[in-house]
């Protein structure tokens, strides 16, 4: 099913919000796809990082429903390669923050199975707490 999208002033507001939060000039994105090709997690994602950038650029808030931003591991592989000097991982963070700031956590630390809890090192739990809970 091909969706029709409208481009309205709200779209611009969303773009501006994300641009401000991520401190990136998202409109500079040239859609070359370097970020996607560099992303170690892209195989797990429902939309590619470049697609994510595109949707933000067009102000499609549906991007918030995608999983991509939660799958991003903030490894900055895209950051060091983007020909336009954009930091995609910061854009992903901005999208995560918007959700988390509405007190909607992505994971509940209490749901982690005990067997995992026994194994996981602090560093993993703390960073997960940072990225997935608000």
């Amino acid at each position: 099913m091909i969706k029709k999208i409208a481009i309205t002033s709200e779209n611009v507001d969303f773009l501006e919000k994300i641009s401000k939060l991520s401190d990136q000039v998202i409109t500079k994105c040239d859609q070359c796809g370097t970020c996607s090709g560099s992303c170690p997690m892209v195989g797990e994602m429902d939309i590619t990082p470049a697609q994510l950038m595109r949707m933000v650029l067009l102000g499609q808030e549906e991007v918030m429903d995608s999983k991509a931003m939660w799958i991003c591991a903030s490894c900055f592989a895209c950051t060091v390669r983007c020909p336009r000097g954009l930091d995609v991982s910061r854009v992903a963070e901005a999208l995560r923050q918007i959700t988390l700031r509405q007190a909607v956590d992505h994971i509940d630390l209490n749901d982690i199975p005990d067997c995992e809890m026994k194994r996981l090192p602090q560093i993993a739990l703390v960073s997960a707490g940072r990225k997935f809970t608000g």
């Binding site: 170690p40 592989a77 060091v80 930091d87 910061r90 703390v126």
Partner: protein, 322 residues
């Protein structure tokens, strides 16, 4: 505060300090929570080799969580409080004479290093943010911006790998080791300690130890980091690729400098084997463990017993341990 004087933004190797390695050198050291628990062998081995190199790593008093992952949004200052608070402790150490004119803060854990350095950079570039944080922490002394965050590997590079070589008792000849860098030691550029696409610092260290560095094209590919909590199987796939590749390139052993990489590369091999029964487990060590071995330290300093995949059979095979 003038960053120009001792600019932490400078990579330590470029910093013009005169003889940064006076004998009996004491340097503030930030362990981080994981080195106190699941990565004890990282710390013990590191402290031991540092001592042999004439460096005393003085643990930061009252240190708190480094912040663990840098908060990347423009307005989220609260998450930079933790790192800055630690930097304040370093300045305190200088004020109360715990160390002598030593504003370098050494980290072993790559993630701690990355976060501390990045927050330091940020508050130095944005004085207004530093002011906010200082006001927020009104119970602490203000952070003056004097601290320079360095990774233990940088310290070794500054010291010179030749010096490291001098200390080698038992050269690791014939040991094929693939360095694994991961992300946070190299990225983003302004934080990284080496070329983000083609780093060599660990290979140089290995050569100093007499081991044979194996180039793994996936040496800078992310291990999945904290995603290991959300989706361990996805991470296990990355581990499979990275280690499988190292094996393909001829490596018998992989070294890393990050406790999270260690967990994802080593402990996640459990999941890897479940999915890929043919997978041949690959021992993963902290680079400091190999140093300890090469420096002739006894096994408990090396802490081989605490690694998920036991490296000892391999090392025995190479007659490096009994």
């Amino acid at each position: 505060m003038s960053p120009a004087k001792n600019d932490p933004r400078q990579k330590s190797k470029d910093s013009p300090e005169t003889s940064p390695f006076s004998p009996g050198l004491k340097i503030p050291y930030f362990p981080g929570c994981t080195l106190k628990t699941t990565a004890k062998n990282f710390e013990t081995s590191a402290l031991a080799v540092a001592e042999l190199l004439g460096i005393e790593l003085v643990e930061l008093p009252r240190w708190n969580c480094c912040g663990t992952v840098t908060s990347l949004t423009s307005d989220d200052l609260i998450h930079h409080v933790a790192p800055v608070r630690n930097l304040v402790r370093v300045e305190e150490m200088n004020d109360n004479g715990a160390v002598d004119e030593e504003t370098r803060l050494v980290a072993l854990c790559t993630m701690c290093f990355n976060v501390l350095k990045r927050s330091n950079l940020r508050v130095l570039e944005k004085p207004e943010e530093l002011e906010k944080i200082n006001n927020f922490m009104y119970l602490e002394k203000d952070y003056q911006g004097k601290v320079q965050v360095v990774h233990f590997l940088e310290l070794l590079r500054d010291l010179g790998f030749a010096k490291v070589k001098e200390k080698v008792q038992k050269t690791l000849r014939g040991l094929k080791v693939a360095p694994y860098y991961g992300c946070l030691l190299l990225r983003p550029k302004e934080i990284g300690i080496d070329d983000p696409e083609d780093p060599t610092i660990l290979s140089e260290l290995l050569e100093a130890l007499g081991a044979e560095p194996i180039n793994n094209p996936f040496k800078t590919r992310c291990c999945g980091s904290y995603q290991t909590v959300r989706d361990r199987h996805a991470v296990a796939e990355l581990t499979y690729d990275i280690l499988g590749r190292a094996r393909k390139e001829g490596a018998e052993l992989v070294i890393t400098s990050c406790p999270l990489c260690m967990f994802n590369l080593a402990d996640r091999q459990k999941e890897v084997v479940e999915k890929h029964p043919g997978f041949e487990p690959m021992p993963v060590l902290y680079f400091t463990q190999l140093m300890a071995l090469a420096f002739g330290l006894e096994e408990n300093a090396c802490g081989f017993d605490q690694n998920y995949v036991d490296a000892r059979p391999l090392l025995k095979g190479k007659a490096l341990i009994k």
